[in-house]
Symmetry: C3
Subunit: 444 residues, 3 copies
């Protein structure tokens, strides 16, 4: 594979184009190809980045299917494929143009105007954009869907299907697009200098805030907090949860790397390379930090914490995966992992029942990652980062809280006690996830 | 997808940079880089598209492993990895050259001449093709394998291993290549103006037709249809089935996007972007249509129908993923999802036992997708689409029927009653898929 | 991520090439774009190749989780995510620079100098390398992690977590980088003309040798070899093992294809195409060879052998995936598959307990693949291949043996008898992988 003769590749490539070949002495340079080639390469980044982030939907589905009990696994699978589908439709119908209103703001720099997103013509016609608008839509859609995926795990095992889906319609069509427009749509936070490269706050903390609002209104699972003690309700399949984590880890290269938004120059593609390395390093550091800390705290390694530690590392580096050195990425990711281990019990103390740990992983580590951006990126400042993450978390939490409260009041969001005890697969889906395996007790 | 006009891609790429365009009169244009770069980018599309479609083999394996009962799961895994391997060898040995005979037809425009496919030399030597022939072989092979994957699920739980593998040899080596040559190999359907962009009919309906023929000859599982009632035989693992669906969804971006066959121009890569969006949208619409319809029909959401709805949406858009608007893609995919929900019970009425629903998903939705092409693509017409899909389904069904009948007569294709009751894992594979979990009853 | 300043990307791209910049008047040739474009494409190969190989970590995790018994599944998941994380940190800290010392050898051509790997600056600054150094680090790191993954399966079900992790630190930080430097770091084996394209020996046989040393010192599982008989201890989930195999198969396109190290010329990208085809073909041949041979030997197809046969085919072609014809790839891969079927019982006779068959798959097939390189590649010779693979296997085995022996003596590497009987999930992780399913007997 690699050895010293590799340098010859580059030299050879240069040689191909040097005047010594004779054809260029009397030549006008090839003007067009550069812009065309850059357009193609930028589009390829969106497409590859997009399919990798799409794959994260499978990661969330497996992570959550593994971390809930067998009696709720089919429900969790249903929610995950449905929410992704809803996001795909809603982001087209109104979400994309709310998020990227251009000049069509309803409220300048705060709320974009809703309208369906049109595709560019077959064959394309606008070199000047620098990339295919369809590929950009595809990529951005996946971020919208990711935000909804985060909510699904927290509220597992007791929420009814249809209220969840209705919330997803609003989250992916309106709530996410509005807050994301503030930064990525050139809204007020972007004007202010807020910095969130790939969405530690815009996607992850926002999803976590929506989940937190839901968890508070929904209340904990029956029996979870009893007589001051926390009842463990172990997930049905740790290998599926592990698979989900690996899928998310893989998809995150698209999430962060694709957020460079261009690879038509050597500077851009080099930055994508840096982002891949930092993203991977932060995940590794988060996993190892959780591994060591759980060993120290509990005398045994806690696999679910290691998985969530890796995810927290990924969330933490997402606000700034480009600027850090590898050493800084280790620090940023490791702190993310520690945050998860330390805040999961805290939520339990507050009797906020987050089935898969999504609030610590996505919201708390997301806030951490956003606030620490100035540590590695001199263009950001701590105060603006605080304002940005507080504004977005606050906005999403409040709006979500209102929506959940209305849904709870109007149609009810919580399964009946009997349905919860028997499992939502029975009441909501009418089929078992593992009909031939043990079904577990009614209570665990 | 591929036909004789493909060569024009490369020629077009060259033309883009030739002096005849007028901008280069006083200059030797930089002709080479453009064509070289286009060659590289086209090849990259085949490679990425190809590995994504290869990944669909894992999707079928997981989908089917999840939808059969535990006692047949190892058998289903074996069949899936074996059929993919057989396709890889047979398509090399004779399939590719039957499918793309060039001038070497045995029967002009109907049956190509069989011969092994040779690789181009190391380092390549033919810029004029516009892409690496190896990458094209790799990509096309995956479509052949996909066709065989479709058959595997329908016939699960009662077919013997070796007859299935023998059929796979014929399907991947001869049957698929012949019918695919009619369109993509520039055969008689291509001459006629038939349009099937990525294979709603050539791959999916064809695979479904082969499965249908097998299901008729094989007969239903013991106890499936008794006293006029349909006995539900629920699958062993819905999360694996969900995972399989997500894998297929991901792989489909390669399936449809790669079928653009070129991304060396901004027009081509833009079209790949459009295709990604439409493919994703149709899947989402198919899933949601099945979700809503099963809720309305049965009062509960049926997860397996949602999964199959997503797949039907994907199959439906495959004949024309480029031309539709997003709104049209929603329509095309949603109808696909509805077709599945409505036709699964119909097959049961006919006592055709399709274990995973592959005939509705791949054949019925595939026919739908093919016939509806003129709705979005003005170059197609309904009559030709009807003739094309009828010809291919008819040909594959009849040939498959004969092959299955011969296999049944000569070596027997059906496991013994005792083996079927005990599960094929025991009789054919000699190992259990989940030796430590419950094995389920003998009858369910 | 996206905001209004994005338009500047396209404008910048255009500006770079327009005459208005002044550099084109006197027809300076367009030298830069060719080298720039090649740089971008080479980097893209590293990035795509890298994320595909990263995905192999999930493949090993699923393969091993499926092949161990339920009581050790969480442990196996923990080991796999932890070892990947450790590799990510150690390869940065010292591994990369030991492997690619440039002029900084500690012992010339034998031991590189350890130092952390620095990232190139944001935006990149060195076109002359021909690719982004970060992308190269990312890609190479994944090979280091793969080596460690191989060890994990062999030693399953009886090794303690922390000694395994300590060994992983040394393997990924020191042992692998040293032996890999001999060939890919331009060390003494490279000087000698040894040929190992993508690491049949450097990665796979090396990982297998480290596993073999560990298995010898660790000893077999309790009850595995009793009264001269071999007790089968079937894995908990064959579909997960199948999934793992498909994941590895997919990832291998990155492993071998990416090892071309460049795709900025049509020759290079064509070679990547050839490599994809040969890699796929060898895997298929390995699977089918194992399928047929187990049918002949045992009267039934053995799925785990088919899976391992596919992997052995992949390992076998890895030393030379470029030069062979497809027919040669079939031969090379098929022999790999046969080797596995024939040597698994041999290890059992020697009472070397390799839980997942990693030693036959990675070491034996790896040696086979390396020695057979001259069969298809005239630049290699059998004697040098023998010396190379013997040196690397010998070195890794001996050093690993010493490290395992020291670990065994100082902290102990083997779980207590009671812990092994109850399962390592209980003693080391404190949670069950499938708490609601059957736990199996204590002995199986």
């Amino acid at each position: 594979m690699k050895n010293t003769s590799l340098t010859a590749v580059a030299i050879g490539a240069l040689a191909l184009a040097t005047p010594s070949l004779g054809w260029a002495q009397d030549a006008t340079p090839s003007v067009e190809p550069a812009a065309h080639t850059a357009y193609i390469l930028n589009t390829v980044l969106f497409l590859i980045g997009g399919f990798l982030v799409m794959w994260m939907a499978a990661g969330f589905a497996m992570l959550e299917a593994g971390l809930v009990r067998t009696k709720n696994v089919a429900m969790q699978c249903t929610k995950n494929i449905a929410l992704f589908s809803i996001a795909s439709i809603m982001f087209y119908l109104i979400g994309y143009n709310i998020m990227y209103p251009g000049d069509a703001w309803l409220v300048q720099d705060v709320i974009g105007g809703p309208s369906p997103k049109g595709l560019e013509p077959v064959g394309g016609d606008d070199l000047a954009t620098g990339y295919s608008a369809s590929s950009d839509f595809f990529f951005q859609l996946m971020f919208c869907a990711t935000t909804a995926s985060i909510v699904s795990g927290t509220l597992a095992e007791r929420i009814k299907l249809w209220p969840f889906l209705i919330f997803t319609v609003l989250l992916t069509g309106v709530i996410y697009p509005i807050e994301a427009s503030w930064e990525w749509g050139a809204g007020w936070l972007d004007d202010m200098g807020f910095s969130d490269f790939a969405g530690s706050t815009l996607v992850h903390a926002a999803g976590g805030a929506a989940a937190l609002a839901g968890a508070i209104i929904l209340g904990p699972r029956i029996g979870k907090y009893k007589d001051g003690a926390v009842t463990p309700m172990p997930g049905s399949s740790l290998p599926l949860a592990t698979l989900g984590t690996f899928i998310l880890w893989l998809g995150w290269f698209g999430f962060n790397g694709g957020s460079q938004l261009a690879m038509g120059t050597i500077g851009d593609v080099t930055d994508v390379g840096r982002i891949f390395v930092n993203t991977n390093t932060a995940a590794a550091a988060g996993a190892l930090a959780a591994l060591v800390l759980t060993q120290l705290m509990y005398g045994k390694v806690d696999l679910t914490m290691v998985l969530n530690g890796a995810l927290a590392g990924l969330v933490s580096i997402t606000a700034e995966p480009l600027a850090p050195s590898i050493a800084q990425s280790i620090f940023i990711g490791a702190v993310g992992g520690l945050i998860v281990v330390l805040t999961v019990p805290m939520l339990d103390k507050l009797k906020i029942d987050d089935v898969v740990g999504a609030i610590p992983v996505h919201m708390f580590a997301g806030i951490w990652g956003t606030i620490i951006v100035p540590f590695s990126n001199g263009d950001a400042d701590y105060m603006t980062q605080l304002i940005g993450t507080a504004s977005i978390c606050g906005f999403v939490f409040l709006v979500s809280f209102v929506v959940w409260a209305i849904l709870a009041a109007v149609i009810g969001i919580r399964a009946s006690e009997e349905d919860e005890m028997q499992g939502l697969d029975n009441s909501e889906i009418g089929m078992e996830a593992y009909p031939e395996f043990g079904k577990g007790s009614q209570f665990i």
